[in-house]
């Protein structure tokens, strides 16, 4: 091959040149171009395109596999899932873009269920028979948990996702993280202990147990019996959120609530504060309308009462009486004036008559009034006087003093 012809003075070559070289190398090998390989399926994903990708595992080795839609249809292959033991037939080549070696599968043969899958099924059947998955065992989640326990790895992206969701939806809560490994041989014991510790501590109202997506091996800890038992004996309700939507673990079956992902678990654990904001606003409006209604009612009642009061009020009687009084006063005045003028007329008539009878008028005609000087008695008879008496004679314009001679 020309790429490494001059071994003494190696040339610098491009990545694509190496990739192409590897590709050629593999594709020129007859054994690799038609080979059967057996192992257990892991990380199996079928995309919308219909292409299926998985990893074939056996011992410590793994081989990436692609099962294109055409090949699947042509070979009428069954749906593949994690844990299945299969043999694949195809060619092995190098995929330049990802820089990895993979098997392009043409057909498969099912060899039976994988070891992991068999263990999973056995444990599931046993725990189910024990009643650990019973619906009656499932406790309701607290509607407003003040404290949320989380059992997961402190480093995981899943934890950050959960905290983000909790902070957005329900920042009133307090989170207690019980840190644990979530994969590896020590993970099952660690998860169970972390869960037990939260129970011992006792403050959490609900516990989320979970981890982000991964291969079936990476999620395996959540299929172990110790974890299932720890969930079953938890006094605090447990929400599981392990892997992706399609992953089901034993933990999911035992948990009080199974969420499809850690993020979904966080969302299921708490109410949404936004709903509350709307609720509080609604309640404020209700308060205002209730009090307004009440005040309006009372005002109406008051109006009625005032109208009633006016109708029966003594004031109106006073008003009537005042009017009567006015009328009476007026009548009195008229009457009085009438009477007065009547009297005035009579008086004038009398004065006139009096005047006509006055002796002064008689005196004016030449008569006189004679009085005794001593006692001013009017002399109307000779008997009243003697010679020598002094008399006054009153005439029209004065008095004359005279003396009686005989």
């Amino acid at each position: 091959m020309h790429l490494f012809e001059d071994i003494d003075e190696p040339a610098v070559v491009s990545v694509s040149a190496v990739a192409l070289y590897l590709k050629d190398l593999l594709e020129l090998n007859d054994v690799l171009q038609n080979i059967w390989v057996q192992g257990e399926i892991s990380n199996c994903k079928t995309y919308g395109s219909g292409h299926c990708y998985f990893t074939l595992k056996e011992g410590d080795a793994q081989l990436h596999c692609v099962f294109f839609k055409n090949s699947r249809l042509r070979s009428s292959a069954p749906n593949l899932s994690d844990g299945m033991a299969i043999a694949v037939n195809g060619r092995i080549s190098f995929y330049e873009r990802d820089g990895k070696l993979q098997c392009y599968v043409e057909r498969i043969r099912i060899l039976g269920e994988g070891v992991l899958f068999r263990r999973f099924e056995q444990l599931k059947a046993r725990l189910k028979a024990e009643g650990l998955f019973d619906e009656e065992r499932k406790r309701p989640l607290p509607p407003q948990p003040a404290v949320i326990g989380i059992v997961t790895s402190p480093q995981a992206a899943a934890l950050r996702d959960m905290l983000r969701v909790l902070n957005t939806r329900y920042p009133l809560a307090r989170v207690i993280l019980s840190p644990t490994l979530v994969q590896g041989t020590e993970a099952p014991e660690a998860i169970a202990e972390a869960l037990d510790l939260l129970n011992e501590h006792g403050e959490a109202d609900v516990i989320i147990i979970g981890r982000g997506g991964g291969s079936i091996e990476e999620l395996w800890a959540f299929n172990e019996e110790v974890v299932a038992r720890a969930i079953a004996r938890s006094r605090i309700p447990v929400i599981s959120g392990v892997g992706h939507e399609t992953d089901f673990t034993i933990a999911d079956f035992v948990a009080d609530y199974r969420a499809s992902t850690p993020t979904a678990a966080a969302a299921a654990a708490v109410p949404n504060i936004e709903d509350w904001r709307a609720d509080i606003q609604e309640k404020q409006r209700l308060l205002v309308s209730l009090i307004e209604e009440r005040l309006c009612d009372l005002k109406e009642q008051l109006d009625y009462a005032m109208r009633d009061l006016q109708r029966t009020s003594p004031l109106s009687l006073v008003e009537r009486r005042r009017q009567q009084l006015d009328e009476t006063t007026e009548r009195l005045q008229t009457h009085m004036q009438h009477r007065l003028s009547l009297h005035r007329e009579r008086l004038r008539g009398m004065a006139f008559r009096l005047h006509s009878l006055s002796p002064l008028l008689t005196i004016a005609r030449g008569y006189a009034v004679v009085r005794r000087e001593s006692d001013q008695a009017v002399v109307i008879s000779v008997q009243q006087v003697q010679a020598g008496d002094q008399l006054t004679v009153q005439v029209q314009d004065g008095q004359i003093l005279v003396e009686v001679r005989s």
Partner: protein, 73 residues
């Protein structure tokens, strides 16, 4: 009021509304419930406004004693 947890304040707000819905309540009491309710609603809103998720980590020492420590994300 400052010491009420959100849940308690919210429950009291609901209680105030229930009380107000009783039309036979004397006016003075009704006004009291109204003012109290408005204060509670305001308080609940404030709590929601300033709430921030607190995160702690559970630790266990050699003696098996549990303690809470602050956790930095």
């Amino acid at each position: 009021l400052e010491e009420l947890a959100f849940e308690e304040a919210f429950a009291q707000l609901e209680a105030a509304i229930t009380a107000l819905q009783d039309g036979k309540l004397p006016l003075e009491r009704a006004l009291q419930y109204y003012q109290e309710g408005m204060k509670l609603a305001q308080y609940c809103n404030e709590l929601l406004q300033k709430a921030e998720l607190s995160v702690q980590q559970l630790r266990v020492d050699g003696n098996g004693t549990l303690s809470l420590q602050p956790f930095d994300m």
